[in-house]
């Protein structure tokens, strides 16, 4: 019975591109309400794994369950409707729209209003209120009218995250949320992620090993598309094999 409530379960999940086995036989479980980090050297299949979970890629073999439901064949929009939000390694926002418009577009997907063509979007007050509240909370009120493409990289990362969050997802996939951020920005975002984890389950790909150790309650190490190690941050830190493939590489 408890199995059914796991936000993410993958069973022998595999995908290959031509001859390359990008994700191989990954059986993985994420528990509810905690931060679960996925680390591994470049090319380990981390983003591919995320793309499989969010539905951007179809698996070659294996199954994916989200919140107990088999979603292996569902397209990304239906998985989003189940409560999956995600961010991207390369910031993925609506560049030529303002911050406010970005949020409105993300917010309106939640209701049965996305096909309404006979009413001005602006007439949906609750959407603009929701967007404004979020901008206030995140310190974006002054940037409401700025085109997303002119924001600083750090702000774009935050906007990417806000887009994922405005629909209040039950599962949040963060793909290298601190990539390209300054030390100060990383610290801010780390705090934000910690706060978010009180409300939602977070799966996080993290290149910055210190951030991963600081935030995650559980860490899965991917290597060449397979699960190489899995455990608490302490266990991973002590694992000599992990040091060899991942930490060793960093030092070299």
């Amino acid at each position: 019975m408890k199995n059914l409530t796991y936000p993410v379960i993958t069973e022998n999940l595999s995908v290959h591109f031509g001859g390359l086995q990008a994700v191989a036989d990954v059986s993985f479980t994420a528990e509810e309400g905690m931060i679960h980090a996925i680390i591994g050297p470049n090319g380990a299949g981390k983003t591919t794994f995320f793309n499989l979970i969010s539905g951007l890629l179809q698996p070659s073999a294996g199954r994916i369950r989200l919140f107990g439901q088999d979603v292996s064949k569902l397209p990304p929009q239906q998985r989003a409707a189940l409560g999956v939000g995600r961010t991207f390694q390369v910031v993925n926002i609506f560049s030529s729209l303002t911050v406010f418009e970005n949020l409105l577009l993300a917010a309106q997907s939640q209701k049965n209003m996305k096909f309404v063509f006979y009413r001005r979007g602006a007439s949906y007050r609750f959407l603009s209120i929701k967007a404004r509240e979020m901008m206030d909370e995140w310190g974006f009120s002054e940037k409401s009218d700025i085109l997303a493409q002119t924001l600083s990289h750090g702000d774009q990362r935050q906007l990417d995250l806000m887009l994922a969050l405005i629909g209040e997802p039950k599962l949040l996939l963060l793909d290298e949320p601190t990539a390209g951020l300054s030390r100060a920005e990383t610290a801010t975002l780390t705090e934000i992620i910690r706060t978010l984890s009180l409300k939602t389950t977070i799966l996080m790909i993290e290149h910055d090993i210190e951030v991963a150790f600081a935030l995650a309650r559980r860490i899965t190490v991917l290597h060449e598309g397979r699960i190489f190690a899995d455990g608490s941050p302490d266990e991973i830190r002590m694992d000599p094999r992990v040091k060899e493939i991942y930490l060793g590489e960093e030092e070299a």
């Binding site: 951007l56 609506f94 993300a106």
Partner: protein, 316 residues
């Protein structure tokens, strides 16, 4: 603090004022113009509607098509064939034309949305060329390259509104144009219209936010085709004659250019159409080689104002 631009909010007052003034100008102008210039004004409305329809697909949703004339020609030919060959009344002919336009949109949409980018450009072109070839070859129905003659204008049955006069017909076209224009403005500012821009900006982002990108693109294609097709119906009434030219790639490319010239908004596409139509007429006064002038104009715009005129006006 109310910020926002483009999709909603503060700008709307300015927008409404601009629309009001624009409409007023088009209402008043014919009072001071002779029949020739009234027909030029009608052309701005007809091609303006064509370009605005295309703009929904090309500028808003990010699918530049080289086959939009398919809708224009379908509207024009179906109206003409229904009136001339089938002997139907005006009401029935309009209905048949709208059905034909929708059928072309629904079927072509499924085919063209299998592709992206340059392939989209060519498949839309190819499909439109098929219709062009049918119009060219099927002489008994379409009149072939001689065109289809004998189209008549509707009679509103109002003593004060006679469509056989230049200005009476002009105001008839203007009325339909204004309704279509307002409908397009509403659609592009609606929740659905916003999703079109989202698809243009990032399909992956849209799908991960819960949108069915294919379906939204398909709806954009159909809405776009509907309005461009409606323009074709107006054209048949205006010109009283339909030829394969109305299904040609030249027309599609012109529509695309009007949208680019306008800078990507609905009213910009209309502005683009006004400029192109006026320039065509004026260039043809000056020289028989007016196409050279148009060619030079296209090149200058693409090189120096690639983002179009409304873009220049919006961003100081």
């Amino acid at each position: 603090m109310f910020h926002s631009r483009k999709i909603l909010g503060r700008e709307s007052l300015v927008t409404f004022a601009a629309i009001g003034i624009g409409i007023l100008v088009w209402v008043i102008m014919p009072l001071f113009l002779n029949n020739y210039w009234i027909s030029v004004l009608i052309e701005t409305l007809v091609y303006g509607l064509f370009a605005m329809g295309l703009s929904v697909l090309a500028n808003y949703t990010g699918f530049p098509s080289l086959g939009q004339a398919a809708f224009f020609g379908t509207g024009a030919y179906t109206l003409g064939i229904s009136l001339v060959r089938l002997g139907q009344g005006q009401g029935m002919s309009v209905l048949l034309s709208l059905v034909a336009i929708m059928m072309v949109a629904v079927i072509f949409g499924v085919l063209v949305l299998q592709t992206k980018g340059i392939y989209f450009l060519f498949i839309t072109l190819g499909l439109a060329q098929i219709l062009w070839a049918i119009a060219w070859k099927w002489q008994s129905v379409t009149g072939g390259d001689d065109g289809l003659v004998g189209i008549t204008r509707p009679n509103l049955g109002l003593s004060w509104w006679n469509l056989s006069t230049a200005s009476g017909f002009y105001y008839f076209i203007l009325t339909i144009f204004i309704l279509a224009f307002l409908a397009l403005l509403l659609i592009t500012k609606s929740p659905l219209g916003r999703t079109f821009v989202g698809v243009r900006e990032s399909e992956v982002r849209m799908s991960c936010l819960g949108y069915n990108v294919w379906l939204h693109s398909y709806l954009a294609f159909i809405i776009s085709g509907f309005f461009s097709g409606l323009a074709g119906i107006l054209y048949a009434w205006y010109n009283l004659f339909v030829a394969p030219q109305q299904l040609s790639m030249t027309l599609s490319a012109e529509g695309l250019f009007m949208g680019i010239l306008g800078g990507g908004t609905i009213w910009g596409a209309f502005l683009g159409a006004v400029i192109i139509v006026l320039l065509k007429h004026m260039a043809s006064f000056v020289t028989d080689h007016w196409l050279l002038i148009m060619g030079a104009f296209y090149i200058i715009i693409i090189v120096y104002v690639p983002k179009g005129l409304s873009f220049m006006l919006q961003r100081r």
